[in-house]
């Protein structure tokens, strides 16, 4: 889980390092021309690293096989923490009330059973495909968002892209200019990384295992909490990142395009159902979307936020109340420019015969179609540019129409 101890942010490191540095570019960029319709579109890409459980985020409660497959962590429409019904079939995780509100206001949509063209289950390769926009792994020179930026008329509607985080995510790397902003100078190792390391040490180096465990415990004690998970911090960090990015994007001469990544979605064990680890993370994501909405102010009207992950997780839970690496999952869209209030899906069903390789939700929609739809709706990129430059050799994945209002 993402661990970001707030008081630490204030005491032990520089809170924010915005080098005033990089913003000179705007001084001599031409004025932003508005499109004929007067819109000034903005696009935010949020990458969830670790592969999100789409069946837990937007649960197909109406599918008769769902409850059995997802077992102890399946969401239900009733009980102490009822899922939020989006329509008669799909229900949203209860820790996402803001997204539910946007959905009801027609400003949020879900695309279900989506996947990139990648069909194996390595995080590294899956993330390459998701971000590079190529059909296979190993292409890490540039990302689709940067190439989209490059294809736009310079200085007309959009300027540099904003990379949020300590490095530019692959999706925004390339020839087009980008600027960077990171909310923290020395990111704390998150709990998930620490636990993986403790586990390795337990097997290979007991002395280091005990030292690291104690070190982690000391830190928890110092920050006023014992070894309990600290949902507030993950949530706070995601909100903080979104707040800063939204503020930058809200400026008249601010970047129109931004990319950021949230870690920690690799829920192999104790994933949790309506409450628990995944619930905390989804709550953080929900808060981040709300921050974008409030931070962008009237710009929210022209904004699309695309939330995507490298692949989904197994339909059936594993032996440790978690899920392993799978295939199809959800993509979330939020923003005033989204034609929302819908779950878009060609639902494949969860019967054993309908699962991909008898274990994963089967992909029926290409994620590239969704992203192309958003890019076309926001910036008017042509089918050809999208099929050849932004997502090379992707003509078969046609832009999804009508995503943007």
């Amino acid at each position: 889980m993402i661990d970001c101890v707030e008081n630490r942010l204030l005491t032990s490191r520089r809170g924010l390092l915005l080098g005033g540095a990089s913003f000179a570019a705007w001084a001599y960029l031409p004025k932003f021309a508005r499109a004929a319709d007067g819109r000034d579109p903005r696009l935010v890409v949020v990458i969830l690293r670790g592969a999100l459980d789409g069946l837990a985020t937007v649960a197909p409660i109406g599918d008769p096989d769902y409850a059995g497959l997802h077992g102890s962590i399946a969401l239900t429409a009733d009980g102490a923490h009822p899922a939020l019904m989006l329509d008669g079939f799909f229900a949203l995780h209860p820790s996402m009330p803001e997204f539910a509100r946007m959905y009801r206001a027609q400003h949020a949509a879900v695309v279900h059973a989506v996947a990139t063209p990648y069909r194996d289950r390595s995080h590294f390769d899956g993330q390459d495909v998701l971000e590079s926009g190529y059909a296979g792994p190993g292409r890490v020179q540039s990302g689709w968002l940067n190439r989209a930026l490059e294809a736009l008329p310079r200085g007309e509607r959009v300027s540099s892209g904003l990379a949020v985080g300590p490095t530019t995510p692959l999706v925004l790397r390339g020839n087009a200019p980008t600027v960077g902003w990171a909310p923290v100078a020395l990111p704390q190792a998150d709990d998930d990384t620490a636990m993986r390391l403790v586990d390795l040490y337990r097997h290979r180096d007991p002395a280091l295992a005990s030292a690291l465990s104690q070190g982690l415990q000391l830190e928890k004690a110092a920050s006023g909490d014992e070894m309990k998970p600290k949902p507030g911090n993950a949530v706070a960090q995601m909100r903080q990142v979104a707040r800063g990015a939204a503020k930058l994007m809200a400026a008249d001469d601010g970047p129109r395009i931004a990319a950021l990544a949230f870690d920690g979605w690799d829920t192999h064990a104790n994933e949790g159902g309506p409450v628990g680890r995944l619930a905390f993370l989804l709550g953080g994501l929900d808060g981040a979307l709300a921050e974008f909405e409030s931070g962008l102010g009237e710009r929210w009207r022209d904004t699309v936020v695309v939330v995507a992950t490298e692949f989904g997780r197994t339909a059936r839970i594993n032996g440790t109340d978690g899920t392993d690496h799978g295939t199809a999952t959800v993509a979330l869209l939020a923003g005033g420019a989204v034609k929302g209030g819908r779950v878009i899906s060609d639902w494949p069903g969860l019967k054993p015969a309908n699962l991909y390789e008898a274990r994963d939700l089967k992909p029926t929609i290409d994620l590239r179609s969704v992203i192309k739809g958003a890019l076309q709706g926001q910036f008017g990129l042509s089918d050809q540019v999208l099929a050849q430059t932004v997502f090379p050799d992707s003509a078969a994945a046609r832009p999804m129409k009508g995503l943007v209002a």
């Binding site: 204030l10 520089r14 809170g15 924010l16 390092l17 915005l18 080098g19 005033g20 540095a21 990089s22 913003f23 000179a24 705007w26 690293r49 670790g50 995080h123 590294f124 993330q127 890490v140 300590p166 490095t167 530019t168 995510p169 692959l170 790397r173 200019p177 980008t178 600027v179 960077g180 990171a182 100078a185 020395l186 990111p187 190792a189 998150d190 998930d192 990384t193 620490a194 993986r196 390391l197 390795l200 097997h203 290979r204 002395a207 280091l208 030292a211 690291l212 104690q214 070190g215 000391l218 800063g244 503020k247 930058l248 809200a250 400026a251 008249d252 001469d253 601010g254 870690d263 102010g297």
Partner: protein, 523 residues
């Protein structure tokens, strides 16, 4: 010859700074001839010397400090003499709090930075572009004045950083790093602390270049003499203040001995505690080395900042030390005493033990210590022979890898594996401060500890993980951690480590886990 990855791990990690990434082929080279790989550097004695553009001699550096101190003093006096400042602070015309419309990006930037930024310590200058502790991206455009520019560094800070950078770059580029590890070992054995004052900070790097490096593959007695006569050591252990009570200066100023340097020479540099010396020997050695000092800013004893023997401060008369009498021969009295201490049997045992503890095991195998002690005695303190004997011993290759890398070793090894030669030492200096091994600044004259217990402490490991995560976050984007594991350990990596890397959630996480893996932490 058959490739032996396990022996390559020993060659690179126990003796060196770990394999470099990229196309270095270090692991393969080490695997095909592990002993030869380590010893190759011993065959290039001049390669130990460090000469980089801009690095100056101790007298030059001393004069620069004196000049800087004069400037500061003059500026302070000028400020005092001047009338109180008449110019009111300039109010920025374009800052109106609460303004929301037409907000410019620079204003937003300034505003967020003002809310969240903390003061930045002087040594926290942005590091090597990819490792800098800053939020800026490498492909960002040119700077604009959105935040106040930091105070320019003074000559002392700049010198310290230049010396640090030269040392780091050398460590990053060495094939194996054995001689650089030897430099670090001897530099820590004969440590000074940069925290002693401006001169010590200025001289820390020069001390190592001038007193340690030329003798790392030479004779112990020569290193000992160079160290104890170096202005940095004389300043660090207060010998420039020590006056023979019966010397002319002692009589005039009614001051006398300072035993600091004499005690540490015997306790820490040569014989070791319990090495057979008494308090009377300490006092006697202190008298013997009175007058060992450096020329001050006025240059009365020689070029300012150079070693000088001040006969006026030297205690007259013969002195008895460790059962032998040293005649009153001025500077030569102390040099003769040091030469004898250097070949004392206790010195051989002390050095051999420390040497084996550093390279092989916290509890040094007695047979190996005995063998190295014999080599030391037989060769009259030939340090190249000592190093060679260590590499030749089978124990050195068979002992389990239980030593913990020090923070310095860990950071250098990480930089090497990531194939990054720093252009700025900031990241390393900051990280060393954080991990409790500030460069050239140990807490006492006994140097930094050399045992796993010291460096595997809970808080230290947790902080190490934070730093590894930081490196992962900054650099993980561009590398495949599975490749790095091959460069670092190949088939000597454990199944568990391999699996942990492969199953990581992201490249960033995998890189952090790799840097923290036992294969990279133990040596």
């Amino acid at each position: 010859m058959a490739r032996d990855s396990q022996a390559a791990l020993v060659a690179l990690n126990r003796f060196g700074f770990g394999a470099r990434g990229g196309a270095s082929g270090d692991l393969i080279n080490a695997a095909s001839d592990p002993r030869g790989f380590v010893k190759a550097e011993l065959a290039r004695p001049s390669g130990v010397l460090l000469e980089a553009p801009g690095l100056q001699s101790t007298p030059q550096l001393g004069q620069a400090v004196f000049a800087y101190q004069d400037q500061v003093k003059q500026a302070r006096e000028a400020a005092k003499a001047a009338t109180p400042a008449e110019a009111p602070p300039q109010a920025p015309a374009d800052q109106k709090p609460g303004l929301r419309r037409n907000l410019s990006l620079n204003m937003v930037a300034t505003e967020i930075a003002g809310q969240m930024a903390e003061a930045k310590p002087a040594d926290n200058k942005p590091a090597d572009a990819a490792m800098k502790p800053d939020g800026m991206q490498p492909n960002a455009a040119a700077p604009v004045a959105a935040k106040p520019s930091p105070q320019p560094l003074n000559v002392i800070q700049n010198t310290f950083r230049a010396e640090a950078l030269a040392r780091l770059q050398r460590a990053m580029m060495a094939d194996c790093g054995f001689t650089e590890r030897l430099v670090a070992f001897w530099s820590n054995h004969f440590c000074i602390s940069a925290s002693k004052g401006e001169l010590a900070r200025m001289w820390a790097g020069a001390f190592e270049r001038e007193a340690i490096r030329p003798h790392v593959l030479g004779r112990f007695a020569d290193m000992l003499k160079a160290v104890e006569q170096h202005p940095a050591m004389l300043f660090f252990l207060d010998n420039q203040q020590s006056l023979g009570p019966d010397s002319r200066a002692g009589q005039n100023r009614k001051r006398g001995l300072n035993e600091n340097l004499a005690r540490e020479i015997m306790e820490l540099h040569t014989l070791g505690v319990g090495g057979g010396y008494t308090q009377e020997d300490v006092t006697s050695l202190a008298r013997i080395i009175t007058g060992w000092t450096f020329a001050g800013r006025k240059g009365q004893l020689g070029a300012p900042g150079s070693f000088a023997f001040n006969a006026n401060a030297h205690q007259p008369g013969p002195q008895a030390l460790l059962g032998k009498t040293y005649e009153a021969t001025g500077l030569a009295q102390g040099e003769a005493a040091l030469a004898d201490i250097a070949r004392h049997p206790s010195t051989a045992t002390f050095i051999a033990t420390k040497f084996v503890r550093h390279f092989i095991a916290d509890d040094p195998p007695p047979t190996l210590v005995a063998r190295l002690r014999d080599v030391f005695v037989r060769t009259d303190g030939d340090l190249k022979a000592l190093a060679t004997a260590l590499v030749d011993s089978n124990k050195a290759w068979q002992a389990p890898l239980t030593k913990m890398r020090s923070p310095y070793d860990f950071l250098v090894a990480s930089g090497r594996l990531l194939a990054r030669v720093p252009e700025d030492p900031g990241f390393y200096l900051n990280s060393l401060n954080l991990l409790g091994q500030p460069l050239w600044t140990p807490a006492g004259p006994n140097g930094f500890p050399d045992t796993a217990a010291a460096w595997a402490a809970p808080e230290g490991i947790k902080l190490r993980l934070d730093i590894a995560s930081q490196m992962g976050a900054r650099l993980g984007n561009n590398i495949d951690p599975r490749d790095l594991l091959e460069f670092a350990a190949a088939d000597a990596a454990s199944v568990e480590t391999r699996r942990t890397i492969e199953r990581a959630e992201s490249r960033q996480q995998a890189l952090a886990l790799l840097l923290m893996s036992p294969e990279l932490q133990r040596r």
